[in-house]
């Protein structure tokens, strides 16, 4: 084989601590290497042309590029060598940036390591074979997981483009956190007025199938051809029949069920529709509080239901859907402030979270939109807001900024003044983070027009004195301790990843960070893609986000899906396992270990059984290869011979 080696300087990223010239000249001594050079930016257009020129000029049959991580530029170089007439798999990359130059300063050691990595890549390349992909049809149906504003936006965009969309929502209603908000910053427009029509669209579009009160059970397949199992949780109400008339709720005798929608501020009935504008507007029974389901005599709802929709025998059911792409928009949860012992740890009824206050402000909330405090229903006069509760706080494991609290506090303080002109609002803050369009002006208005008293400092302790709360904090600008007596304290609880985010990520085979937020493929250039092809992200599941950003991401993910669905077929990845039937001993171990069910028995003439790989299902993990006793099953492009060649070079 005639091999060419191209060592990238990457400006000074690599050349700063690696002698790239020496790496290239050393490479010339490796077996089969006939050409080697170093280049300033190999990924640039002239850099790629240099590779193509060398292929022609030196009759190269294989190419090694020593540069960055293959994650970004392996596709670039594969395309480049392909244009020059080579098979794209006759190419290898040695990572001498992330694995060498960025992690060490010792130039000599770095250079030596880079030489070793290049030698290994060359050794492997000598065993490479041309591989060819085949084409698979794309199923142009989209699955959207999560029915918050990001998921709704993505679903509507794709449905508008004529695609079939399946939406799965864990709760019994769509709308997510936004459905609970009263108004939105910085325009103070009514949240349900702008979200409501979109929610209705989801329910009315013929090409959107909505599974509410449902969760993802399992996902298999790959880009263009996913199979999804969806668990429809038992709601004990036949939604095909339910008209949402609300008679059952009215008559339900279990009046102390948890009111999740109102964040525990009110009480719900065991059978209910969470809020008047709920989509789907269907009743569901909370089994924990239902008398009938807890062995008591009741069944009132079943008796009053005019369409006999109540079904106490209902069980969870599983439905299967086939889709070609998945948008994950599972949103976020709010930090539980009971971690803050100094703020009463949830023991004081008049120390509430921001989302609870949002429900208090809402006309459809527990107090009909009148600001009252939970303990005694009195109208508060002094209201203290505390920012960064569960944000920027390493002591509770949340060192990141939640990004939305500064704004929602300003909004709530403004609304408070609107509702109760005689009241005083105080905001304890560390910094004000308001970088969005018209955001900082909004925070200034809270202070200048609405007279909200901003105090720069954290609060150390909250405790009751009489029927009020004492808020003991600091004004660091003045360098003094301050005390505010408050009737109501609102904690700006921060954003955390959605409960169960990790489990769903494992089903989707996408990565997530230490806080449970899903990882995008590239923080700048691939913001809505994941590392699993065909799976995209939208909204706060990827990190704390406000409504405009979530909506923008929903549309961005939708456009990614539309460009995928613009093709009728996609190329399969040929880097899959392959069985050599002559050496296969039919032990079946590979079938047992394959995590994807990609290997099955194949009956030859004479009834002999051999293992067979389904190339469209195989994910190329290599477990079968490692398990196979006679090494009859080999993962293409990472065969035993190829890996051993690398190891031999390293140990030589």
């Amino acid at each position: 084989m005639r091999i060419g080696v191209f060592v990238c300087n990457c400006g000074t990223n690599i050349a700063g601590t690696v002698d790239t010239k020496r790496v290239a000249s050393e490479a010339l001594s490796f077996a089969d290497v006939v050409y080697a050079t170093n280049y300033m930016y190999t990924c640039s257009e002239p850099g790629q042309q240099e590779i193509q020129r060398a292929i022609g000029e030196h009759g190269l049959q294989g190419v090694v590029v020593a540069a960055c991580s293959p994650r970004m530029h392996e596709p670039t170089f594969r395309r480049a060598v392909e244009k020059a007439g080579l098979n794209r798999y006759m190419f290898e990359m040695a990572n001498i940036r992330e694995h060498v130059s960025w992690i060490g300063n010792d130039r000599e050691a770095n250079t030596q390591k880079a030489i070793d990595l290049v030698r290994m890549a060359v050794a492997k390349l000598r065993f490479n074979n041309p591989l060819f992909s085949s084409k698979m049809p794309v199923n142009k149906r989209l699955l959207v997981i999560g029915g918050g504003v990001a998921g709704i936006q993505a679903a509507l965009d794709c449905a508008d483009g004529g695609m079939d969309v399946v939406m799965v929502e864990r709760k019994q209603y769509i709308g997510g956190k936004m459905a609970k908000l009263d108004k939105t910053f910085p325009t103070i427009d009514c949240s349900s007025c702008i979200l409501g029509p979109k929610m209705v669209d989801v329910s009315q579009k013929e090409n959107i199938t909505l599974y509410a009160a449902s969760e993802i059970e399992s996902i298999s397949g790959y880009i263009g051809n996913f199979t999804v199992q969806i668990r429809k949780k038992a709601t004990y109400v036949n939604w095909e029949a339910c008209t949402g008339c609300g008679l059952c709720t009215e008559k339900c005798p279990s009046k102390k069920a948890a009111d999740y929608f109102n964040e525990g501020l009110g009480a719900a009935r065991a059978i209910n529709i969470p809020f008047p504008q709920a989509i789907p507007k269907k009743a569901a029974i909370d089994a924990q509080f239902c008398r009938q389901l807890n062995g008591k005599k009741c069944g009132v709802c079943a008796k009053v239901c005019p369409v006999q929709a109540v079904d106490f025998e209902m069980k969870d059911s599983i439905v299967t859907e086939q889709v070609g792409a998945i948008i994950v928009a599972t949103g976020y949860d709010l930090f539980d402030h009971s971690a803050y012992g100094e703020y009463g740890a949830g023991r004081y009824p008049d120390v509430i979270s921001g989302i609870q206050y949002e429900r208090i402000l809402s006309a459809s909330g527990p107090y009909g939109g009148h600001i009252r405090r939970p303990s005694d229903g009195k109208e508060p006069k002094d209201i203290v807001f505390i920012s960064c509760v569960g944000s920027r706080d390493a002591s509770v494991g949340r060192p990141y900024c939640s990004g939305i609290c500064c704004m929602y506090i300003a909004k709530q303080a403004i609304l408070t003044r609107d509702h109760l002109p005689e009241s005083n609002s105080y905001v304890f803050y560390m910094d004000i983070r308001s970088p969005g369009k018209n955001y900082d002006e909004f925070v200034r208005r809270a202070q200048e027009e609405y007279g909200v008293q901003y105090i720069r400092g954290r609060v150390g302790k909250i405790y009751p004195r009489g029927d009020r709360m004492v808020v003991q904090g600091a004004d660091t600008l003045l360098g003094v301790q301050v005390e505010v007596e408050a009737d109501l304290v609102v904690l700006a609880t921060g954003v955390e990843s959605s409960a169960g985010a990790g489990e769903l990520a494992e089903k989707l085979r996408i990565s997530y960070d230490q806080y449970g937020f899903y990882m995008e493929s590239h923080p700048k250039l691939r913001p809505v893609e994941t590392n699993t092809a065909g799976v995209y992200l939208a909204g706060a599941c990827q990190g704390p986000k406000d409504i405009p950003s979530s909506v923008a991401q929903g549309s961005a993910a939708a456009s990614k899906v539309q460009s995928l669905f613009a093709h009728d077929t996609i190329e399969t990845n040929p880097q899959v396992a392959l069985v050599n039937e002559r050496t296969c001993i039919s032990c079946g171990k590979c079938i047992q270990v394959c995590p994807f069910g990609a290997i099955q028995w194949k009956e030859l003439r004479g009834g002999i059984k051999k293992a067979e790989v389904l190339p469209t299902v195989c994910q190329g993990c290599g477990v079968c290869n490692a398990t196979c006793p006679p090494k009859a099953i080999q993962l293409q492009h990472a065969t035993d011979n190829q890996i051993l060649a690398e190891v031999n070079e390293l140990c030589a």
Binding site: C388, G457, G473, A474, G479
Partner: protein, 205 residues
């Protein structure tokens, strides 16, 4: 300490000071983001010349003299409220403790009476192995020229039988005295900064 309202950063920043504080306290001073929670939680803020948050800030800026001469570090009771509530997990009380030790070594203790009390306390421990409460107070009162401190308590305590007139002495007093001597001998050599404390009999233990 008198406050200054102007500061030339380059001329006044003592980087060694920052390093010494971090090494002795085991805390990273630059972690402090000035949220003010320590100041908010400290029940002694009313008495400090610089609230804790500002002590942390002055330390970040390497203001050795201001910090070691402040009243705050000697009025801190080490009650741990700051440490308990620091969102950045800084052991602020430990930083304050380190500053006290440094201020003793540099002989810049701003609160003479507190130092006298501590000295007499340690002298009592060194002599008897335990603290002789009844003996400690008169010496302190004499040395701080406040002869009547706590005299109002004496009759009742006497009546309750809580005042002893003889110190409790332990047997191995020599061992205790030896610990004191070794510490005194080594405590400057450890950090290599031989800036010995003036050894007047008045201020040394």
């Amino acid at each position: 300490m008198e406050r200054t309202n102007t500061l030339s950063i380059q001329q006044s920043r003592d980087n060694d000071f920052i390093r010494e504080v971090e090494e002795a306290s085991g805390q990273t001073v630059s972690k402090c983001y000035q949220c003010g929670n320590c100041m908010a939680s400290c029940v002694y803020t009313f008495a400090y010349d610089y609230p804790v948050t500002q002590i942390m800030r002055l330390t970040q800026l390497g203001q050795r003299d201001t910090v070691l001469g402040s009243s705050s570090i000697w009025l801190c009771a080490n009650c741990q409220a700051c440490t308990t509530r620091c969102p950045q997990n800084i052991d602020v009380a430990q930083v304050m403790e380190t500053l006290r030790v440094m201020s003793r070594k540099a002989n810049t203790v701003s609160q003479r009476d507190i130092r006298v009390f501590y000295d007499e306390f340690l002298r009592s421990v060194k002599t008897f192995g335990r603290v002789f409460e009844t003996g400690l107070l008169p010496v302190y009162n004499l040395r701080t020229k406040r002869p009547f401190t706590d005299f109002d308590l004496a009759p009742r305590l006497m009546w309750k039988g809580k005042l002893s007139f003889l110190p409790a002495r332990i047997k191995k007093r020599k061992k205790i005295a030896q610990i004191f001597e070794v510490i005194k001998r080594d405590r400057f050599s450890k950090d290599g900064k031989a800036r010995p404390e003036p050894l007047s009999s008045q201020t040394d233990i």
